[in-house]
């Protein structure tokens, strides 16, 4: 908005205050000649009255007057009308510097000595009115600004509300997760998303959109639906990473991307999968507070690569001792103190090492707050910690979490059968278990059965694929770093797979007055000695290779092997 200096075309109403009649007349006539309107007062008190009645644009004030002098009248006008600035020019015979100064002090704007030089008076009137106009403009701008700011506040509040709903912040209550967030502005461009798969695996996303505040938060909204949808269907975290990338690439402009740390944690098997694109390292910290593993960003952020370039490979980790998985956004490491020093990785590691596990998170938050010392953050600060115990809390929770359906609703599909034949080209590209579960959802499988069916099916499928088709040996998992190597080998073999067939049948049927889900898998592999594992007790099974087939038995399902062990059928009761 350019500074515009108006040239006084309009008529002004000028209040002339003087106790001497000839002066009053002279100045009034002059004012009229200039094209303005003159209003008269003969002393300070009358000046106040006229000021109130007439609302003049300018006051020409004599100083020496009976009843109330010019200084006092000016002081009173300023006091009574603090929000309305009307220029006041003193016209007076008193010409000392002290008088001049006093005039300005009581709130006058200019001081002209008598006898009045009319040319000068005209010039001063112009000058002072010009300033008054600019002043008025400032007040108007400031009111407008305040109006916009209020409107903006309301819109931000709405956006904040929306974002909280979309990201389901109120929904998360998994007690092994701690989250902390300190936005740089009203709200954060960083988000956390937490969800559980049907098998109760924890999926976690810490995302940091380009920039901060509302424009960054807008980056991350499309992620929420994809993340929650795919997690609830049981998709693997790498499939989710792939889809998130596709979404951001498709929806957001090129220069906007989302740094993300994705994790999938199976507390029962003590396995975590990590994908880090653009965020600071994720850390696994042991009981003593030492960093055991760090997962640096090895991918560009989401939304940078296109579909063919994108690498969804996760890193696998298996823990044998309890610990915590820490993730943060770069705002945390870059948080500055008064001297401009960044918090940094060294301070982070020190804070982690200097508190016992139960208080570690709070201690770290305090350390960051202390470092920032009340200064506001340049970038959103986000911190998350996942507790990774060694006892298996997952199993009882799994059994408890899935309620059995009471009876069978009449109007649902009852006699369906799905048959699938999968060769390497399918096995490499399709997420089979979530796909099947999705179909079963469509076929109105009762939600109460979802978790257990998913678990059973995952177990059967993974066993057939890993051992039957890929020829992997579970014993590999027992060795040091065995899990990581097992998954690496698995990935390599799957990528280069040329032969193998996996046949799947899922059928809903009735046997002896009860409804069942029959799940059958046959692989083209060499089978195994299944007689040796049937009848083993789940609680005695502390092998790290998963709860395995023995668990299926304990879920009230009937399991039958056939052939050399490469063919298995499970009958899962629906009623």
């Amino acid at each position: 908005m350019p500074t515009y200096i108006p040239h006084m075309p309009k008529q002004l109403k000028i209040l002339v205050v003087d106790d001497t009649e000839p002066n009053l007349l002279l100045v009034s006539k002059f004012i009229n000649k200039l094209g303005h309107q003159a209003v008269q007062a003969r002393n300070g008190r009358e000046a106040l009255e006229k000021f109130h009645e007439e609302s003049p644009d300018l006051v020409l004030m004599d100083v020496m007057m009976p009843e109330m002098d010019g200084y006092e009248a000016t002081a009173r006008i300023r006091e009574l009308y603090p929000n309305k600035w009307v220029p006041i020019i003193f016209l007076t015979a008193r010409s000392q510097d002290t008088d001049h100064v006093k005039g300005i002090q009581v709130g006058g704007d200019d001081y002209i000595t008598k006898p009045v030089n009319l040319v000068i008076l005209e010039a001063r009137i112009k000058a002072v009115t010009r300033i008054a106009e600019m002043q008025r403009q400032i007040v108007e701008n400031s009111e407008q600004l305040e109006h916009y700011r209020d409107e903006n506040e309301r819109e931000l509040q709405l956006a904040k509300h929306l974002i909280e709903k979309i990201t389901h912040y109120d929904n998360y209550d998994h007690n092994s997760i701690r989250l902390w967030n300190k936005p740089a502005q009203h709200f954060s461009g960083d988000i956390f998303l937490v969800g559980l798969t049907p098998a109760k695996e924890i999926h976690f996303l810490l995302a940091d959109g380009t920039g901060h505040g509302l424009s960054a938060a807008l980056n991350v909204i499309p992620l929420a639906e994809v993340f929650y949808g795919m997690t609830s269907k049981g998709f693997a975290i790498s499939s989710i990473a792939h889809e998130l990338n596709r979404k951001i690439k498709q929806l957001m402009p090129t220069e906007r991307f989302v740094a993300a740390t994705l994790a999938s944690v199976n507390l029962g098997d003590r396995i975590a999968h990590i994908w880090n694109g653009g965020n600071p390292p994720a850390l696994f910290v042991d009981e003593e507070g030492k960093v055991r593993r760090a997962w640096k960003s090895v991918h560009p952020a989401l939304g940078v690569f296109n579909e063919t370039e994108f690498d969804a490979t996760t890193e696998v980790f298996h823990w044998n001792e309890p610990g915590q998985l820490y993730m943060c956004s770069d705002g945390l490491l870059e948080a500055q103190n008064g001297a401009g020093e960044e918090f940094g990785l060294a301070r982070l590691e020190q804070a982690l090492a200097s508190a016992p596990m139960e208080q570690r998170f709070e201690h770290l938050v305090q350390a960051i707050d202390l470092h920032m010392d009340g200064l506001s953050a340049h970038d959103d600060v986000s911190l998350a910690a996942l507790h990774c115990p060694v006892s298996a809390p997952g199993e009882p929770a799994l059994a408890a979490g899935t309620e059995r359906a009471a009876g069978v609703p009449d109007a649902c599909p009852r006699r369906w059968k799905i048959s699938l034949r999968l060769t390497p080209s399918e096995l490499k590209t399709i997420d089979v278990v979530p796909m099947l579960l999705g179909w079963m959802d469509q076929l109105r499988l009762h939600p109460g059965h979802r978790g257990q069916v998913f678990l059973i099916f995952t177990e059967l499928f993974n066993n057939s694929l890993d051992h039957g088709i890929l020829g992997l040996d579970s014993a590999l998992k027992f060795e040091p770093d065995g899990f990581e190597r097992y998954f690496d080998t698995r990935r390599q073999r799957l990528t280069s797979l040329l032969q193998g067939v996996l046949e799947i049948e899922v059928e809903r049927l009735r046997q002896q007055d009860h409804e069942f889900l029959r799940m059958h898998i046959k692989d083209s592999g060499n089978g195994f000695d299944y007689r040796s594992i049937i009848g083993s007790d789940v609680s005695a099974n502390t092998r790290p290779s998963g709860r395995g087939l023995a668990l299926i038995n304990s879920l009230g399902s009937r399991m039958e092997f056939a052939g050399n062990g490469s063919e298995v059928t499970v009958y899962y009761p629906l009623s």
Binding site: T210, G211, T254, E255, A259, G277, G278, P280, P300, A301
Partner: protein, 116 residues
């Protein structure tokens, strides 16, 4: 030191955009004007962005580099959409040191540009 300083030079098909100072969100307009100049020049076959004198680089700057890369590659494809040559042969980020190097590393930009 607030505004970024940008100098462009073109020599036998190689354009060099030398940047100094703080490369952040505020550099947007200047950077765009600079690269537009380079993109409009039909003689330019390769682009080098010299970050040696840059003391600060944030995610907005990374975004601007991505945008330039996209525009440049769009201009170097055949009419059937295939690339004339691989992306990292055409665009290089040079003299990357200290903080700048660290940021580019975390962002894994070596997978998108040649970094030296």
């Amino acid at each position: 030191m607030s505004a970024v300083q940008i100098k462009i030079s073109v020599e036998s098909g190689n354009a060099k955009i030398a940047m100094a100072g703080r490369f952040d969100f505020n550099s947007h307009r200047q950077f765009r004007e600079a690269y537009q100049q380079v993109l409009d020049n039909p003689a330019v076959k390769e682009i080098e962005i010299d970050l040696g004198a840059v003391d600060y680089l944030d995610s907005s700057a990374l975004g601007m580099l991505l945008l330039l890369r996209e525009k440049f590659l769009a201009g170097t494809s055949h009419s059937d959409g295939s690339q004339k040559t691989s992306a990292s042969n055409l665009m290089a980020l040079t003299n990357c040191r200290g903080v700048v190097r660290q940021v580019l590393e975390v962002a894994n930009f070596n997978k998108l540009f040649t970094i030296r």
